[in-house]
């Protein structure tokens, strides 16, 4: 099986801890369901990610150095 995380199009995905998540949500003043979504069967998702978790994605951005985005894992 190919390790997709090695592909240059795939940014780094990490599962966000609950307390970090609280910080993010309060910073933006949103609910976790307001976040963009990622499917549970997404090949780039870390194995330990479960539905309801939020993954932190660090992209190499075209407009700035690095961009951090979050996605909620959905079914």
């Amino acid at each position: 099986m190919v390790d997709v995380s090695q592909h240059e199009l795939v940014p780094e995905h990490t599962v966000l801890e609950e307390d970090e998540l609280e910080e993010v949500l309060s910073e933006y003043d949103i609910d976790r369901t307001d976040l963009p979504k990622i499917k549970r069967n997404d090949p780039a998702l870390p194995d330990e990610a479960e539905v309801g978790n939020v993954v932190k994605i660090v992209r190499d951005s075209r407009t700035t150095d690095q961009a951090v985005v979050y996605r909620l894992v959905v079914e």
């Binding site: 090695q6 940014p11 963009p36």
Partner: protein, 404 residues
């Protein structure tokens, strides 16, 4: 202290790092300072502050209709795109859909592009030695019987006769025994194989069955991937000056190709955003949408469309974890408001369905408010102005409007 790769003093680093600039702009400031050895810390401070002011100025204001601006910014240059499907022999003589048809294909999120293709990068010795690179080609390109030898029908004996070409077999690394075996498996007939000659025929003598067998024989893929009809191999110079072989394919089977030995699974891409989404995930698909739309515009000399607009389009298309098209069946069709949906396409159907189901429109969006003639909640339309009659020091006064 942040590590900086530029030859500037620590004090300068301190003043620049203190600003609210993104990394890239900070680096630009350092580069400028580095080029002026006689610049003082005060100069550095002034420069950094000036850049910061300009940066803050050019940021999008709150309540700016970024989507509308993006639509205009892509739409206007879009009028200059080639309207007809002009195929062109670009990289390695492979036909690729260009211009407007390609752009439409992307935002419509078509399941398969008009001209699917892959760019396959190779690793290690496969990338540097032509013979090794060819091994990969034979594993990818679909090999049909006509490429391996001649097929003839002997009507008198009701037999199909194949005479294989020994050189081609050797080159493509396939033996006559393997060919015979594949034919037996696929067609369910028993074959007689002698050297490079293979013979078989229908169980009962029947002219129709014989022709049928020949037809089916032509469709069998003996080696490689069924969907890939052609592979072109090209020697290309890489960014670092080295040269390596890159394969371009007509047709795509991204998942299958990634598994083939010799293929560099970290750089190989295809132009089907759905295949990318399936094999690499939604984030890679977003990246691919930006890359593809950007390249389509750039190829037509329209690379002055700011990439932020394309990023916004890609963000919206991938927002729900799968690729959605822009338009009636995708983003616009899934809007909350009945009136907004009805204003887009197939008005009557939307209104009728809404009436049947007793839908309620909260009038939150732009379109529905334009329809009913209320101010839209964008820009100054969503700002409530409070006139300061009671002097409240520095924060009040006429100039300060506050979002409520």
């Amino acid at each position: 202290m942040t590590e900086v790769d530029y030859d500037v003093s620590d004090d300068m680093i301190a003043v620049v790092e203190d600003t609210n600039l993104p990394r890239r702009l900070k680096d630009d400031v350092y580069e400028e300072l580095e080029g002026r050895p006689d610049a003082t810390v005060e100069d550095a401070d002034e420069l950094a502050k000036a850049v910061e002011t300009r940066y803050v100025d050019t940021r999008v204001d709150p309540l700016d209709p970024v989507g509308t601006v993006s639509a205009q910014s892509i739409g206007e240059p879009g009028t200059q795109l080639t309207m007809n499907t002009f195929h062109y022999a670009g990289v390695a003589e492979i036909d690729v859909t260009q211009g407007l048809p390609r752009l439409i294909e992307l935002v419509d999120a078509r399941k398969t592009p008009d001209t699917p293709m892959m760019t396959v990068h190779l690793e290690d010795e496969y990338a540097t030695e032509r013979e090794r690179a060819h091994e990969v080609v034979w594993n990818i390109e679909a090999t049909k019987i006509l490429a391996l030898g001649d097929v003839s029908t002997n009507v008198a004996d009701m037999r199909v006769q194949i005479s294989l070409n020994r050189d081609t077999l050797e080159e493509r690394m396939i033996t006559p025994e393997e060919v015979a075996e594949i034919i037996e498996d696929e067609l369910g007939v028993s074959t007689v194989q002698q050297g490079t000659e293979i013979q078989f025929g229908p169980e009962e003598p029947s002219y129709r069955d014989l022709l049928q067998l020949v037809e089916e024989l032509r469709d069998i893929t003996f080696k490689g991937i069924e969907d890939i009809s052609r592979v072109v191999i090209r020697r290309e110079e890489m960014d670092d000056g080295s040269e390596e072989f890159v394969l371009y394919t007509e047709g795509s089977a991204f998942g299958d190709v990634l598994e083939i030995e010799g293929v560099d699974a970290s750089r190989t891409t295809c132009n089907n955003i759905h295949e990318i989404r399936r094999n690499l995930g939604i984030e890679a698909a977003r990246e691919a949408i930006i890359e593809e739309t950007n390249n389509t515009l750039a190829e037509q000399g329209l690379d002055d469309v700011n990439v932020r607009h394309l990023m916004l389009v890609a963000d919206i298309m991938t927002n729900r974890g799968e690729i959605e098209s822009i338009g009636r069946h995708g983003i616009s069709g899934s809007k909350e408001s009945v009136l907004a949906r009805a204003a887009f396409e197939v008005t009557v159907n939307h209104l009728l369905n809404a009436a049947i189901h007793g839908e309620i429109d909260d009038l939150d969006g732009v379109t529905e408010n334009v329809i009913v003639g209320k101010p839209i909640k964008l820009g100054t339309g969503d700002v409530d102005l409070r006139m300061g009659s009671i002097g409240s020091g520095s924060s009040g006064g006429g100039s300060g409007s506050q979002a409520d």
